[in-house]
Symmetry: C2
Subunit: 428 residues, 2 copies
C-alpha cells in the first residue's frame, strides 16, 4: 500500500452513455469486438463444432438445490487472518468486487457473530415481549406466521465497515474495505404489530433487543424507531434466513448499524430508557480526538465504493471502452446521485444509477468510460435525498480524528496503473 | 383429486388488515399468542437456560459459500416422475409453496433443459451476430463486460406452467401446478446495444436466437421486441448465472414465454422473417378445438396463485387469524390488483400487494384472514395495468378447448377442509 499523490492525474475521460456508444462504434474492429476483427484468422471456438453441440448436459435431477458453477469458486466470503484470529467472535466479507446488480445472495453475504452462528429449529424458537407492556407475550414461530407480513429490501452494514482504513490505505480490495454490507429483500412481521399486540405502556420509550446466542448481543432502540419500520424477519431474498443470518428470525433495523439487527431474536424488552449495554458503551461508540465518545450513532450515513475495477478485479484489457461500477447507499433514505472521478477528485461526472433507487437499500451505479491507458485515481461519492454528500477522508478525519473504528464513510480511492492493476491508495 | 362443487362454500370471512388486527387483539391469549397464554404451565424453552445461551456456535470460516440450514432441506426443486421420464430433456419446479417475498433464489429456481445443462467457461464463450447486419460480430465474454450494463427484475415463466391442469385438477401442490416460474434481478447488456453495434439492415425485421447446447433451442423474435427491453444477461440476483440458468450468458425476454429466454446464448441471427423452427411450430404453439394452432403466443398473460395455504403447506393451526399469500404476475406490465376468494369465486375481496409492483416482475400479495374453521375454496385472480382480468378455467376452456399444453393462466382453486388440509380441486 502506498500513499500516492494525485499530481499525475490525467484529464478526465468519462463520457456520457451516448458518447460511449459512438466511440465504441468508431472503435469497432478494435479491442471492443476483438474476436470479430479476427476474420482473417478464424476463431476455432466459432468455426469448429463444439462438444456442447453434440453432447448432452446435466439433467434436472442433478441439483435439487444448486450451487454456483465451479468457475466462480473465488466468489466467496473471506476473512482477514490478522483481523479475525478467533473465527467464533468474528467477521467475514461479502465478495462485492465480483458481484453486480443490487441483491446480495445469502450464500456469500458477510457474517458477523459475537459467539458463533447457532443452529435453532423453528420448533424450539420462542420470542418474548417483556417489560413495560400491558400483557407480556411469548410467540412461537407458528404464532408469528399468522400475523400480517410486510416486505422490503434493505442494506445491512456493519458499523465497522471500513474501520481498518481510518489510519490510511490498508486492505487491498473492495471486499475487505467495504464488504461488511449486504442487501436483501426481507419478509416478516412489523415490529410495530408485535408491540401493539403486547400494548406498550406510556412510559415504555425504549426497547432492548436480545438474541438467543450466548453473546445475546443486546442493543437499545428508541421506541420511535421500533414503531416505525423495523421488521421481525423470517425470509431473505425469498427463502428462509440462512443459519448464519439468524435462522429462523432476525431483527431488521432499516438504515441503522448492523449490530442492532439482532439475529436469533429472543427478547424484546420494553423499558423507560436505554440499557447502556456493553454493545453500546465499550463497543459501537466512536472515540473522538478529545477522548470523549460519541454514542447512539445508529444511522449509516451515505457511502459508496467502486467495486470494479478494484484491486481484486483489475482492468483485464487495454485502452478503450470500459465499465466502472459500484454500490452506493444511505441510511437516511434514497441515494439521489453518484459522481465518479478518474483523477482523484479533481473532476467529477455523474454516474448512471440502475433502476429506481429504494430508500435504505443499496443502489448500483455505472460509469461508462473510455480509458486512454494512463493511470487513474478512481473515486465515487454518494449524495442522498437529504442533500448529504459523502465526505473525503480528510474532511472526516478533521472532525472525527483517528481513534474511531466505526462509521468511516469516507470516499475510497483506487489507483489503476498503465497495466490495469488497481491498488488501495489515498490522495491528498 | 376430486372435482368438488362449490355449493358448500361458506360466507366469506376475509377482513381488511385493520379488522385483522382488531380481531387478533380481541383473540389475544387464544391461539394467536398460544404460548403466551400458557403462563400457568411454564414453557421450558422460556424458563430454562438453553444450550445456545452458553455454547459457542459456528465461526465465520465454516461456510465460505453458505447453503440453507438442514431444517429447510424440503425447499428444493422437484420434478414429477411420470412427467419427466428423461431428466436431460426435462423440467423441474420451483418450491413456490415454501418461499415468500418476490425474489427466487437461483439455487431453487426451476430448470427446463432441452438437452441438459452444459458447463461452459467464460474463456470458451463466444456470441455471434450474423445475417442482415452491416458488420457481423463475434463477442468474447470480456467484450460484453466492456459494454454499458442494464439491470431489471423480471419473471421467467415456462409456457407450459399449469399445462397439466387443462383437463382438470391434476397435480397436488402449488410447486407442481405453478412452479415453472422464477423471478430474478438481471444484469447484463441490452440486446439493442449489441444489435446497434452490428448495424441492423432495413430488411432485418426478426432475430433468431440460439444456444450453445445440443438442442440449440432456436426461437424467432420480432425486431421490435429485440430492440425494446431484451437483456443479454450475465448476473442474476447479484451473482453470476448458475450453470443450470445459462452460465455465462442467457437471453432475458421480459414478459414473454421462458422458452425464448435462450440459455448459453450462442448466436443472434438477423433475418427478414421468422425461421419457423421446431420450437415454434410443433412445440410452443396452442392447438385449438378446431384443429388449427395458435402460434406467436409469446406474452404470458396475467396470472396468480395462492402459494400458502396449499396442498404442500396445509393450515397447521385451528380457527383464527391466518395469512393467505401468493404470487401474481403479468407479461403485459404491472399487476395492479389481486382479489382473493375463500368461497370458490362467489365473493371476492382485494388483497394487499407488498411493495411497489414492477412491470413484468412477480408481485407478492397477502390476504389477512380470520378463519372460522369451516372448509374454504381458496382462489386468487390477478388484474394487470391493461385492465385484463385473469380468467376462470371455464372461461379459458370456452375459447381454447382442451387440446392445449401452453398458456393456461386460469384461476386455481385449493379446497381447505376442517383440518386445514388443502387439495387441488375445480369448482364449477
Amino acid at each position: 500500500m502506498t500513499d500516492t499523490p494525485n499530481d499525475a492525474a490525467k484529464t478526465p475521460r468519462g463520457t456520457s452513455r451516448r458518447d460511449f456508444l459512438r466511440t465504441a462504434g468508431l472503435a469497432a474492429g478494435g479491442a471492443m469486438v476483438g474476436a470479430g476483427a479476427k476474420a482473417a484468422s478464424p476463431d476455432p471456438l466459432i468455426t469448429e463444432v463444439q462438444p456442447y453441440a453434440s453432447f448432452l448436459g446435466e439433467g434436472v435431477d442433478a441439483t435439487p438445490y444448486g450451487m454456483p458453477i465451479h468457475f466462480e469458486d473465488h466468489v466467496v466470503r473471506r476473512n482477514v487472518e490478522w483481523l479475525t484470529a478467533d473465527p467464533i467472535s468474528s467477521i467475514n466479507f461479502t465478495p462485492i468486487h465480483a458481484l453486480d446488480g443490487t441483491i446480495t445472495p445469502q450464500g456469500c453475504a458477510f457474517e458477523r457473530h459475537h459467539s458463533g452462528a447457532i443452529e435453532m429449529s423453528k420448533d424450539e424458537y420462542r420470542l418474548m415481549i417483556t417489560g413495560l407492556v400491558d400483557k407480556p407475550l411469548v410467540f412461537t414461530f407458528g404464532d408469528l406466521m399468522r400475523m400480517p407480513r410486510v416486505q422490503h429490501t434493505y442494506f445491512c452494514e456493519c458499523a465497522a465497515n471500513g474501520g481498518m482504513e481510518w489510519g490510511g490505505a490498508q486492505l487491498n480490495g473492495a471486499q475487505f474495505t467495504h464488504g461488511m454490507i449486504h442487501n436483501m429483500e426481507y419478509t416478516g412481521v412489523s415490529l410495530r404489530t408485535l408491540l401493539n399486540e403486547a400494548g406498550v405502556k406510556p412510559e415504555g420509550t425504549w426497547v432492548y433487543v436480545e438474541g438467543h446466542d450466548a453473546s445475546s448481543n443486546g442493543r437499545s432502540i428508541p421506541m420511535e424507531k421500533a414503531l416505525d419500520d423495523c421488521i421481525v424477519a423470517f425470509y431473505a431474498n425469498g427463502e428462509a434466513l440462512r443459519m448464519e443470518h439468524g435462522y429462523p428470525v432476525r431483527l431488521v433495523v432499516p438504515g441503522w448499524e448492523g449490530n442492532m439487527w439482532v439475529k436469533w431474536l429472543r427478547r424484546i424488552g420494553v423499558h423507560d430508557g436505554p440499557i447502556e449495554s456493553r454493545e453500546e458503551t465499550s463497543k459501537y461508540t466512536d472515540l473522538m480526538p478529545d477522548g470523549r465518545a460519541r454514542k447512539w450513532t445508529w444511522v449509516m450515513d451515505a457511502k459508496s465504493v467502486i467495486t470494479s475495477p478494484s484491486p481484486q478485479v483489475p482492468v483485464s484489457h487495454g485502452p478503450g471502452p470500459m465499465v466502472i461500477t459500484g454500490l452506493a447507499w444511505s441510511g437516511r433514505g434514497k441515494v439521489t446521485r453518484v459522481d465518479v472521478s478518474v483523477d482523484g477528485g479533481v473532476n467529477w461526472q455523474e454516474a448512471r444509477i440502475a433502476g429506481d433507487p429504494q430508500s435504505m437499500a443499496v443502489t448500483r451505479f455505472y460509469f461508462d468510460h473510455v480509458w486512454d491507458g494512463a493511470p487513474m485515481f478512481l473515486q465515487a461519492r454518494a449524495i442522498d435525498e437529504t442533500g448529504y454528500v459523502q465526505p473525503t477522508k480528510e474532511q472526516l478525519r478533521a472532525i472525527r480524528g483517528l481513534n474511531s473504528i466505526y462509521h468511516n464513510n469516507a470516499i475510497q480511492t483506487w489507483y489503476v496503473n498503465e497495466n490495469g492493476d488497481a491498488e488501495n491508495v489515498e490522495v491528498s
